[in-house]
């Protein structure tokens, strides 16, 4: 079924592109079908409590190369978010975009949706990684939708570079982790410990932090707000940025014994929780307020998951669910405000509660859910988070509780400021007429937050199994509508009161004339990307310099370095000086002739030394007991020497002089190559793997091949096809030489007698 759904997405991409060529809105409508069907499938699987069968597509058996999908509780929850919110966002897009053609956008958005499904269903780390990268690439296309604008291009590039670099770090981490565990299956992750596990933990966390926009890798997310709002609602609140959180959740059980996982996870999480919320308070662009708020909320989720306590894991998973609903709804409202008023500056906006009542209702419902006010889904998840922090012991308790309370106060403050700024006092901003396609999805998402509180049992039925997937004990907790007058509730109320006061106070200071703050670090990232772009051609110029001898010398050096490990296997006891004295004499002759050939300056002399070497090698074959080789070598050598003398007859008699320094390098490389060859050969024959099957070969060549000369029978019978290939090679060479010679003769003829 999962393959079928992915196939439907693939088909949908084609259809959406075709329909989008005529009208972008129609393309989006067509694209909505596959996600809607997938969401329905996931909801049915969740409600019937029957997870689908895992499925896999094996590419190379035994090499662990396969695509494996498994939709367990957590994956189904994510599927519901990815496809459910996806379908709503497509619907919303039909109202958001003005009429006109546009094939690329619906197709890329659906391609992203499909990649995200692959990511959440992946059961093999490699499958996960491939789809992880797909989401980075499709996200780049979507952020860069308005590519005529250079700032948009810069933002898209920044997002791609940071998430792409994070992807590489993640790949390194996954390699370390799988080699440590010995399995690439995500559901088999066993706890690991030790220095390599620490390395894997750090690499994987950094990868996750880039994707989930954790400080200091968050700089791409505010820039990515250059994307059309449906993209922000979908990628940058509900789905892609959750991939990092999902990874932390899924990989967490493997790293329970690794201290670095918790420490680094908490540092990322808490820093982002606080710095993101402060960022949300600094900005006036409503979309940036939400984006920074996302950084903060993702930080909270990572904090909860990194704690590794059952209750905290449960709170993290329920937060994941609630956040997707309220944040997507808020983005959709901001998009509607943007389209209908032409601005997103909360200092310039005002009084929209009167002119945009439905949007106001949605914003209040979703905003209060974000702030954690009852009676909404966000309240129950915030309660769960505080409860989880209260249940901790030791320094964890103080750190987690302090961070959650501080972060929550700031969250309430920026929510209040956003609601007041856009909908509160002031003369009502002029608005364009309402577009139904934009209103309906926002109402559904915000309504889900209210409904989630009323029908808490259903939400528990979704979140519980997902949390149980990570930690069986985490599945035993429930979201509670009315906790009673307990500590957590009192803290909650205090947070709401102080946050609202802070938000109201800050809201008074908002003024349209104040310049918008820049994102710290974004410039530095852009500069380093530019630097990379100017350094890489220089590196290419250095490495790909064009000198063929240097390329060859580099290759030889690499080969020698590859041969050096053989030196450890070198033993000397199997060595004899020579098999017989004649062999020793011939070897000496060959080496002397070869050296003479290398350093002689006359061309004719060089050709003659080559002949001498060939003769010596023939002699070696005779002594070795290889008459066929000796005969062939003799014939070949004669022809080559003749060819040399004939072919190069027109050249100057002496070789041109050689550059001194380069000559030294060549001698060094050549010496090392010779040594490397000797070491490799000696080491290889120190450990013979078996004896030659002489008896079998003899009987086969006599009885089946009908010949006594075994070498001949091997060539003409056992390896007859190879020999045929050899003949073809020689024939090709002959044709080549002939045609080169003919060109020469024809040119001579056309030039005529000079």
């Amino acid at each position: 079924m999962m393959w079928l759904l992915l196939g439907a997405h693939g088909l949908g991409i084609g259809l959406a592109a075709a329909a989008g060529g005529r009208s972008l809105r129609a393309g989006l409508a067509v694209a909505a079908i596959a996600p809607a069907a997938t969401a329905g499938w996931a909801a049915a699987a969740l409600l019937r409590d029957r997870p689908p069968e895992p499925t896999s597509l094996v590419w190379v058996d035994g090499l662990d190369l396969s695509i494996r999908f498994q939709a367990d509780g957590l994956a189904l929850l994510m599927t519901l978010l990815v496809s459910g919110i996806g379908a709503l966002v497509f619907l919303y897009g039909t109202g958001y975009f003005n009429p006109g053609p546009g094939a690329r956008f619906p197709a890329s958005l659906l391609a992203f949706s499909a990649s995200m499904l692959g990511l959440v269903w992946a059961d093999s780390v490699w499958t996960l990684f491939i789809f992880w990268e797909f989401t980075s690439i499709t996200s780049f296309l979507l952020v860069g939708h308005k590519h005529e604008d250079p700032t948009v291009r810069a933002a898209a590039r920044r997002a791609l570079m940071i998430t792409g670099a994070g992807g590489l770090v993640l790949l390194a981490g996954l390699l370390v982790l799988t080699s440590e565990i010995g399995s690439s299956t995500l559901t088999d992750l066993a706890p690991v410990s030790g220095p390599t596990a620490t390395l894997a933990a750090i690499l994987i966390l950094v990868g996750a932090a880039t994707k989930s926009a954790q400080v200091p890798f968050h700089v791409w997310l505010p820039g990515a707000m250059a994307a059309p709002t449906p993209v922000s609602a979908y990628l940058h609140s509900a789905t892609m940025v959750k991939a990092g959180v999902l990874l932390v959740a899924v990989a967490g059980p493997a790293f329970v014994d690794v201290a670095a996982w918790k420490v680094l996870g908490l540092s990322f999480g808490i820093t982002s929780l606080l710095w993101g919320a402060i960022g949300a308070l600094r900005h006036r662009d409503a979309k940036l307020v939400l984006a920074w708020g996302t950084v903060s909320q993702l930080g909270l989720m990572i904090t909860l998951l990194a704690l590794g306590e059952p209750k905290a894991t449960f709170a993290g998973v329920s937060m994941l669910f609630a956040h997707a609903l309220f944040k997507a709804a808020l983005f959709l409202v901001v998009g509607e405000i943007d389209v209908r008023t032409g601005t997103r500056d909360i200092a310039a906006l005002g009084g929209l509660s009167r002119t945009m009542p439905v949007a106001f209702g949605v914003a209040v419902a979703a905003g209060l859910s974000m702030a954690g006010a009852p009676p909404l889904l966000g309240f129950m998840t915030k309660e769960a988070a505080i409860e989880a922090a209260l249940k901790l012991s030791g320094p964890d308790r103080a750190i987690a509780l302090g961070a959650i309370i501080a972060g929550s106060v700031l969250t309430v403050a920026y929510t209040t400021r956003f609601l007041f700024g856009a909908f509160g006092r002031g003369p009502a901003t002029a608005v364009a007429p309402r577009r139904l396609a934009m209103t309906v999805p926002a109402v559904i998402l915000a309504g889900a937050g209210v409904l989630g509180f009323v029908a808490v049992a259903t939400v528990n039925g979704i979140v519980g199994p997902a949390a149980a997937e990570l930690d069986p004990e985490a599945g035993t907790f429930l979201l509670i509508q009315w906790p009673g007058l307990k500590t957590a509730f009192v803290i909650s109320m205090a947070i709401l009161a102080s946050g609202a006061a802070l938000g109201t106070a800050l809201s008074r200071h908002d003024h349209p004339a104040r310049p918008a703050p820049a994102t710290l670090g974004a410039d530095a990232v852009d500069r380093s990307i530019d630097g990379l772009l100017s350094i890489s051609p220089r590196i290419t110029a250095l490495v790909q310099h064009g000198s063929l001898p240097v390329y060859l010398a580099t290759l030889a050096t690499a080969a020698v370095l590859a041969a050096t490990p053989f030196a450890t296997e070198l033993t000397l006891d199997h060595l004899v000086w020579w098999d017989n004295p004649l062999q020793g004499g011939l070897a000496l002759g060959i080496v002397v002739a070869a050296f003479a050939g290398a350093f002689v300056s006359s061309r004719l002399g060089a050709a003659l030394t080559l002949g001498a070497v060939g003769l010596g090698v023939s002699g070696l074959f005779v002594v070795h007991g290889a008459p066929d080789l000796a005969l062939t070598q003799l014939l070949v050598e004669t022809v080559v020497v003749v060819g040399f003398v004939l072919g190069l007859g027109h050249l100057t008699r002496r070789f041109p002089p050689v550059n001194g320094t380069w000559r030294g390098v060549r001698i060094a490389v050549a010496g090392a190559s010779g040594l490397g060859a000797m070491i490799a050969l000696a080491a290889a024959s120190a450990q013979p793997t078996g004896r030659a099957p002489l008896a079998e070969l003899t009987s086969q060549s006599v009885e089946e091949g009908g010949g006594d000369n075994i070498v001949n029978v091997i060539l003409t019978d056992m390896r007859a096809l190879d020999t045929l290939g050899e003949v073809v090679v020689l024939a090709t060479v002959a044709i080549g030489i002939l045609s080169l010679a003919r060109v020469r003769r024809q040119e001579a003829a056309t030039r005529g007698p000079a």
Partner: protein, 124 residues
């Protein structure tokens, strides 16, 4: 294993490698030939010690025929390649008057490309 053969392989590899990294095409061909010899001798050496020719019915310890059959192919192929290189060198000599190997033009062009250039427009 015979040290004499080992030294032959080492010497041929070293001189061959020295020659192929030269600028003169005829020296490169020479070096290539020497490397071919080195490979063939190495193949035969790796097959085992010297002995009687591997012909059925002979007495005494026969040498291993399998590497010999492989080496025979190697000799013939490197022969073909050497001759073809010689023909190419002859052609080059006819066109340019010498047999020197120049630096790769395409690589030099790539080395001059800067980020903002259109790669197709950089002159060689």
């Amino acid at each position: 294993m015979s040290v004499a053969l080992l030294l032959t392989v080492g010497g041929l590899t070293a001189t061959g490698m020295y020659l192929v990294t030269s600028r003169s095409l005829s020296r490169i061909i020479l070096g290539f030939s020497l490397l071919g010899h080195a490979a063939v001798v190495a193949l035969v050496t790796a097959g085992g010690p010297a002995g009687e020719a591997p012909i059925a019915g002979r007495d005494g310890a026969l040498t291993n025929p399998v590497p010999q059959a492989l080496a025979l192919t190697a000799i013939v192929i490197s022969f073909g390649l050497t001759l073809f290189l010689l023909a190419l060198a002859g052609r080059q000599q006819q066109l340019s008057g010498d047999d020197l190997v120049e630096d790769d033009l395409e690589d030099q062009r790539i080395a001059r490309v800067r980020p903002d250039d259109d790669p197709a427009e950089v002159e060689t």
